[in-house]
């Protein structure tokens, strides 16, 4: 086809466009709707006063009302978290007993019987195996409870209602209402949340959604929050209230995350990403009774096992690296010691410590391994009994045991609170960073999205630490 004839076509279309005027788009759409309603009137019979639809409308009126919308949202999220925290305790300690108390000694004696060299035995069994065992024991039970519950809510049709409730706030922040949906996706996985921003058509608003998605607590971070909250926050109140207090703390962090999301969306839309807010239609889908067993099955396979697998893939080499840095000495001390020592001052300023900061560096590939890394390093620097040597994990049969280790490592309530804050406010994991780059194709925005949260984390934990120390 010659270029000339194409040019002619375009010229003709330009000419005709002038003739038919501006209303073309609207006229066409009106035409489509007219056709559609004609077809429907010939083919569809329905009774308008349908009871079920009226019931749905009534439920929606409550769930999306100004008065009940938010309290109900927090109540539902709270129930899910409460079930997770309470329910995960027992399987967790059973798994820990099995993997750490029973299998680990067998592996050790097996290695001894074939006279495996001490460094290989340490590297494989005390490094790699223990890291994996820890991840499974601590992360599998809460995930196996949390994800199916969350998926059930999703299949029931609750997420779009959350989006509906939050739409107003996003609009105020100068962002797109659909960001509420991508934010909810982020509660599962930030990388998935970033990909989901494709539903936002304005590039400006999409960029805001991408940059701020990290403020949704993801899979890898829920277990950290839940664990630290149950050990430290739950412990400051009478035992009967400890479950409630831990749930409250975790929800508090999640809500704080949303707060930071609105705040930074607003700041971005007022400064570097200025522009109009676009409007859109949000469809509230019908409530659908979830297919219970199928949902349980797919969420276990698709979410729980995939996340667990990812955690294991990253934890195994991390365990090995930790064992290595704690067993290779430079001068009088191990590499790990020097790293922790050099970061301790800065960590103290933030109300954290060197161990936590090193753990966050090691854990850039996956948030899931932050807690295991912290524990291993804490054992290493404090030399707590139970560790069988440098970089070897101890036996851990309950959350309380974890708490004892951490307290021995100099942890206070401030450390716990600031760890929870820093877990919310730090750089996205490497998968998410890579996804942001793939979606934006911009080094600049990827850098902004990666560094902005860490910076905010430093500022917030620093302020909290200073104020805390002033009053205590």
């Amino acid at each position: 086809m010659s270029n000339k004839s194409v040019k002619d076509l375009i010229e003709l279309s330009n000419e005709l466009r002038w003739q038919i005027g501006d209303d073309f788009h609207d006229n066409l759409i009106e035409g489509i709707y007219a056709d559609a309603s004609q077809i429907v009137s010939d083919t569809v019979k329905s009774d308008k006063g349908n009871k079920k639809l009226r019931l749905e409308a009534k439920i929606d009126k409550i769930i999306t009302s100004k008065m009940w919308g938010f309290p109900l949202m927090f109540l539902i999220l709270g129930t899910v978290l409460w079930l997770t925290i309470i329910g995960a305790n027992y399987p967790s300690s059973m798994l820990a007993t099995l993997l750490l108390d029973n299998i680990h000694p067998v592996l050790k004696s097996g290695a001894a019987s074939i006279s495996m060299p001490w460094w290989l035995d340490g590297f494989l069994i005390d490094g790699v195996y223990l890291a994996l065992a820890w991840v499974i024991a601590v992360m599998l039970p809460p995930m196996a409870i949390f994800f199916p519950l969350f998926t059930l809510l999703e299949d029931f049709g609750y997420l779009p209602r959350v989006a509906f409730n939050l739409d107003y706030l996003f609009k105020k922040a100068g962002a797109h209402g659909k960001q509420a949906l991508t934010m909810s996706m982020g509660f599962g996985c930030n990388a998935a949340g970033v990909v989901a921003t494709r539903i936002i058509d304005s590039p400006r608003e999409r960029l805001i959604a991408i940059i701020t998605n990290n403020f949704s607590l993801c899979n890898g971070r829920w277990p950290t929050q839940i664990l630290i909250a149950s050990i430290f926050i739950g412990a400051v109140v009478p035992e009967s209230l400890s479950g409630l207090a831990s749930v409250g703390a975790v929800i508090g962090i999640a809500i704080l995350g949303m707060g930071f999301m609105f705040l930074s969306s607003w700041a971005l839309s007022k400064t570097v990403l200025k522009g109009e807010v676009s409007t859109f239609n949000l469809e509230l889908p019908p409530y659908r009774p979830p297919r219970f067993w199928k949902t349980i099955y797919t969420s276990l396979i698709d979410r729980t096992l995939i996340v667990l697998w990812r955690a294991m893939v990253f934890a195994a080499p991390a365990g090995a690296v930790i064992w290595l840095v704690s067993n290779i000495n430079i001068g009088d001390h191990s590499i790990a010691f020097w790293m922790i020592d050099s970061l301790d001052g800065f960590g103290w300023m933030l109300g954290l410590n060197g161990v936590i900061l090193v753990a966050y560096i090691v854990a850039i590939p996956a948030n899931e391994i932050v807690i295991p890394t912290i524990l291993m390093l804490t054992v290493l620097v404090t030399g707590i009994a139970g560790g069988e040597g440098a970089g070897v994990m101890f036996e851990l049969d309950s959350a309380n045991a974890t708490g004892d280790i951490l307290k021995a490592g100099g942890w206070t309530l401030l450390t716990a609170v600031n760890l929870m804050l820093f877990s919310l406010l730090h750089n996205p994991c490497s998968t998410t960073i890579y996804t942001i780059y793939k979606e934006t194709r911009s080094v600049k925005w990827t850098t902004v999205a990666s560094l902005m949260p860490v910076f905010m984390g430093f500022v917030v934990t620093f302020l909290v630490a200073q104020i805390w120390r002033l009053f205590s």
Binding site: I10, A36, D155, T298
Partner: protein
């Protein structure tokens, strides 16, 4: 599953059995036909996709779950079909990325059959997209999904009249419960093989002056590109000043 005794006439009918069906999962090599799966968000496209391919694309009850193209395959009567799950969209007329992915695939990917999945209880709203797709392609099947829900809501649909009005086959399904899937497969097969010829509905309620302009431009397009099946739709897009379509004309993507 594991049915051995034939009880009813239905069960001996080839429509019911869809005996030749083999779910191929992600094995999408050397396929004979390409089938696109389009539709509004939250109509169960991904569920239909899973039912046909045996894959487990995650599904969820909210609009916008699928934003990327998912691909899978199935085999029926020793023909291999590649199935492409497009992002759910309400229309093909705007420029958000999900709509463009869907639009470009139907337009440039030239699928052999486009299955349009609609929510039977919300037919009128869904028809907006259906009518737009029928301007682009001649070979389509309407999958009237979520029939169980429509029934619960006492909505009755005259499928035959609907098929006649739209000019394409209509298959009622409840993909969540695997109902109607065998019928859907045989219908896809028939359309792909040309045994069913569609006469798709074209948008009628267009003001006279626009209709004239579209006709004029469309004639010209047909003259220049005799192989284009959707000259009228391209005329719509040119009048709208769609740069992607203008570029496609320039680079000969329609040939």
């Amino acid at each position: 599953m594991g049915k051995k005794v034939v009880n009813t006439n239905c069960e001996v009918c080839p429509q019911y059995n869809a005996k030749g069906l083999k779910k191929l999962g992600v094995n999408i090599e050397n396929t004979d036909f390409v089938v696109a799966l389009a539709g509004n968000p939250n109509t169960g496209k991904s569920t239909v996709f899973n039912a046909l391919t045996g894959l487990r694309q995650h599904t969820g009850n909210w609009p916008g779950k699928t934003v990327v193209r998912a691909e899978g395959a199935f085999e029926y009567n020793s023909k291999k079909f590649k199935l492409v799950d497009l992002p759910g969209t309400y229309s093909l007329l705007s420029t958000s990325q999900d709509e463009e992915v869907a639009r470009n695939f139907i337009l440039f990917g030239k699928p052999d059959v486009t299955v349009i999945v609609v929510d039977a209880s919300r037919l009128e709203r869904n028809l907006n997209l259906v009518l737009q797709i029928l301007e682009i392609t001649n070979r389509a099947v309407l999958c009237l999904n979520l029939m169980d829900e429509a029934k619960r809501n006492n909505i009755e649909i005259d499928e035959r009249t609907l098929a006649r009005d739209l000019g394409i086959p209509v298959v009622p399904t409840s993909a969540r419960f695997n109902k109607g899937i065998p019928e859907l497969i045989t219908t896809i097969n028939e359309v792909a093989n040309g045994n069913i010829v569609c006469k798709p509905h074209r948008i009628k309620n267009v003001p006279k002056n626009i209709d004239n302009a579209v006709k004029k431009l469309s004639e010209e397009i047909k003259l220049q590109f005799p192989n284009i099946p959707n000259s009228r739709w391209i005329a719509f897009r040119l009048l709208e000043g769609d740069t992607r379509i203008i570029d496609a004309l320039k680079t000969n993507e329609f040939v």
